[in-house]
């Protein structure tokens, strides 16, 4: 993955607009967060292979970036995006990686379902 190049990412997000696309959205502190730090509120969320059709998608801010997708009657949103890749299947993989290379947030957009 590369450090986010805003213009390129914006171009790719826009190319998915007004199409039925599969979304992977995830935030995580890791399952051991409250094991290592007692009392830590371990929160996270995960959706995968949910189909949406957004009318407008934007990447904004300096790194870490925020990405929002405006749906006809709703929103998809991710904060903390640092890295991206358009993989060999044409999927946009956005990730927020900390200094150790550990994933904190992910937002993937694809015209085909994600495997696994």
């Amino acid at each position: 993955m590369d450090i986010v190049k805003t213009e390129h990412v914006q171009e790719v997000i826009s190319s998915f607009a007004n199409k039925d696309v599969y979304i992977h959205l995830e935030t995580t502190n890791g399952s051991y967060a409250s094991h290592f730090k007692e009392g830590f509120l371990n929160a996270g969320a995960f959706i995968r292979n949910v189909v949406v059709n957004f009318e407008l998608g934007k990447i904004v801010g300096e790194s870490p970036h925020r990405v929002g997708l405006k749906l006809p009657s709703g929103w998809v949103y991710a904060q903390g995006i640092t890295h991206y890749q358009v993989d060999d299947l044409g999927r946009l993989l956005l990730a927020g990686l900390d200094a150790d290379g550990k994933l904190s947030v992910a937002l993937h957009i694809s015209e085909t379902p994600f495997t696994y």
Partner: protein, 227 residues
């Protein structure tokens, strides 16, 4: 002293779960000629470590972990690996009865004299807990005299306080090299830990040697069943 078994069945949710505290025993059983079946329920798809520099994306990680798992099995001399195809971090949301049936069918097929898994209530990760519950439930349903032994790994912070000290301790000195190779095979997950481990081993650090050499299990306490 590691008892000779008829067949050992290992049931764990993530590739690498076996490496930390069971791999020396697995290698030892194989060395004794004991058949070992390892059912790994997921491919650890939700592992957070993508590396710096990155070696994976969220989408390529499962394939990488699968390759690592195969390599670890080779290191341990394990030739009956079952990849069960469930998804990381979702096991507690599966149908509980289906989870029990999955364990039952593995037991029925392999007829183990010993099952090794996690200890329900003391294994921290929700997937570990869901696996442990299914294993205990499946074995509990068997007639007492037909039940395999159940060795459980426990590492929650309150383990010692409530379960006491482990009653099964395996000295795996003879297979420590295989254990290290298994740990190294899971490099995507163990990269930092291995650096520290190897540095400490080079200094003959007694705590590290002890951690590697002795694998600790609790016989499941059926008289204090978790439910």
């Amino acid at each position: 002293m590691i008892e000779k078994e008829r067949h050992v069945l290992i049931i764990l949710p993530h590739p690498d779960d076996e490496a930390f505290g069971i791999s020396g025993s697995i290698a030892a059983y194989r060395k004794m000629g004991v058949p070992v079946t390892y059912a790994c329920l997921t491919l650890g798809e939700m592992g957070r470590n993508l590396g710096n520099p990155q070696f994976a994306t969220r989408e390529t990680l499962p394939e990488i972990r699968k390759t690592e798992l195969l390599k670890a099995c080779e290191a341990m001399g394990l030739d009956d690996l079952r990849m069960m195809g469930l998804r990381d971090k979702t096991l507690e949301f599966e149908d509980d009865e289906d989870m029990v049936k999955l364990v039952e069918s593995l037991i029925e097929e392999t007829n183990p004299s010993l099952v090794i898994s996690f200890y329900p209530g003391f294994s921290v990760h929700p997937d570990h807990e869901a696996t442990a519950r299914a294993v205990v439930r499946a074995i509990r349903r068997m007639k007492e005299e037909e039940r395999p032994k159940l060795y459980a790994v426990a590492f929650a912070n309150n383990t010692k306080e409530i379960l006491g000290t482990p009653d099964i301790i395996h000295d795996v000195e003879e297979t420590v090299d295989q254990k290290l190779a298994a740990l190294k095979a899971h490099i995507s997950q163990t990269v930092w830990m291995m650096k520290e481990t190897e540095a400490k081993l080079a200094q003959n650090d007694p705590e590290m040697i002890k951690w590697l050499r002795y694998e600790r299990f609790y016989s499941y306490k059926w008289h204090a069943d978790f439910e």
